[in-house]
Symmetry: C2
Subunit: 295 residues, 2 copies
């Protein structure tokens, strides 16, 4: 069963998984998505869950990225320390089934002040690079539950920083005193931009969040606009932190299109140019690039 | 049934209520606490819930502060705008039962940039003032689910700011990716102080929270110390925001003793002197002071 005859690429996250059948010529032949993220897999459940993917997509070699390689996943693929490029990543792939099923490691970053980890974004990142979607030197912003600001130098990741923006918004929306105000849809509108500008200039997020509620209580803001403002506030705060790593030029924003759209709007409000990159395309490009090294 | 023969003071919050029988001479004669906060009272349930307090503590006039006067409580006592002192508060008491059951209003603050509200802390604040526990001019920090930084000038509240510190810590502890790291007890130890100093100097809270987890994953921090560090980080961030309103001198910290202890330790790490005030004693002093105006 050779890699050159095609393979299955799996982006296996915490709450769902996406699998793609890549044909021998590199074209996408089939795909599937379900909610069998690693948290949904019981003890001993990975071999049948992997077999299920092959039953659905074909008896092919398989390359898996994301939380499946974490200590809560199937088999741990230890973090590769930065600076690191695609070669280091490929060299540290862990074989869950020798020659047949590969698990891609994540990346780690350490300095005197900070520690950071990523797992899943690195496949997209090197894929976008290989596909020429982003330059080899620059700043990449990867929004999601945990936004990653990734610094690239000559095609290698030299440092990165995670900001818990998506998770915090979800916590506030699901469980906080603001929850009834945050159910409305968030869009890159005027209120969103006001929130971004506040987050960029002030450093009082944990206070301003309460002000969102107080303004509504005191009749100074419309209830329906609080969600966009709060999202903007968190993303503006995120940009204030992440853009410390930026030099001039544009920022590449890579994720699902609905997220890249929000971050691109926020970057524009901050006076930065951006280019949006589709995370799924980037993942596929990265998986193909890694599969090349396995032939 | 006159106020001079004694009364019942009720601190009625969101999740619990505390009631005190104050004798004719002002001494505490009896008290009770239960979990019948306003969220536990069904529609139409306040009259029997109030009757229950009188059955337990005696047929006395009653003064109620806290969320019972909010739009989710029994009867709304609209916010009194700052600047405001005890006189304005007393003048805007709402009678749920004329002459017999009084609901104390909260305070609001508005300027060009911020909106804020408090409900419950104001009784404690004016009580501490009346009892000589805090000076008439200075900064008061009132930790809790929502920490309040209150600026007093000549015995009146001129401005205040709420920071969502306690609620954020609880959200992270109950529902976030950090939850397994935050179950340990928090104390004013070395890790707490390190967190405070980070929060005071850096403005990257939403990133540093993720670093807490990454340090443990990468073996750079002990799992058991993450809770104290994270609490310190949030409280240090809180101080960085709140101390903007401070001039020289000490900060009065008023709340439950386990909270004032943490904030006093954080203030000390920040180079500020503080005095701790017991919130329950302050509430009783405030209730007595307000009851005086009803005789």
């Amino acid at each position: 069963m050779g890699w050159s005859e095609g393979f299955i690429a799996v982006d296996w996250g915490t709450t769902n998984r996406r699998a793609y059948l890549v044909g021998s010529g590199g074209a996408l032949a089939d795909e599937m998505e379900d909610e069998k993220g690693i948290l949904a897999i019981p003890a001993g459940g990975f071999p049948p869950a992997v077999a299920e993917l092959r039953e659905r997509l074909g008896e092919r070699p398989m390359l898996m990225g994301g939380m499946v390689g974490s200590n809560r996943g199937w088999i741990e693929a230890p973090y590769v320390p930065c600076p690191a490029g695609l070669d280091e990543l490929a060299a540290h792939v862990i074989w869950a089934e020798e020659g047949r099923t590969a698990v891609v490691p994540g990346l780690s970053f350490l300095d005197d002040r900070r520690a950071d980890v990523m797992r899943g974004e690195e496949v997209q990142l090197f894929g976008a690079l290989a596909a020429g979607l982003i330059p080899g030197t620059g700043l990449v912003c990867h929004p999601g539950t945990h936004n990653k600001w990734i610094r690239l130098e000559a095609g290698r990741v030299t440092r990165f920083q995670t900001v818990m923006t998506g998770e915090l918004f979800n916590l506030l929306k699901e469980h906080s005193i603001l929850c009834d105000l945050l159910q409305a849809e968030v869009g890159p509108d005027e209120e969103f931009e006001r929130g971004v500008l506040h987050g960029l200039s002030d450093e009082d997020l944990t206070a301003e969040l309460f002000s969102v509620r107080a303004r509504v209580l005191l009749g100074r803001a419309e209830r329906g606009k609080a969600a966009s403002y709060t999202s903007g506030l968190l993303i503006g705060t995120d940009l204030r932190i992440g853009l410390r790593q930026a030099d001039q030029g544009e920022v590449a924003v890579m994720a699902r299109p609905e997220l890249t759209r929000l971050y691109a709007a926020a970057l524009k409000a901050a006076g930065w140019a951006s280019r949006e990159v589709d995370g799924e395309q980037a993942f596929l490009a990265g998986a193909k690039q890694l599969a090349e090294t396995m032939r």
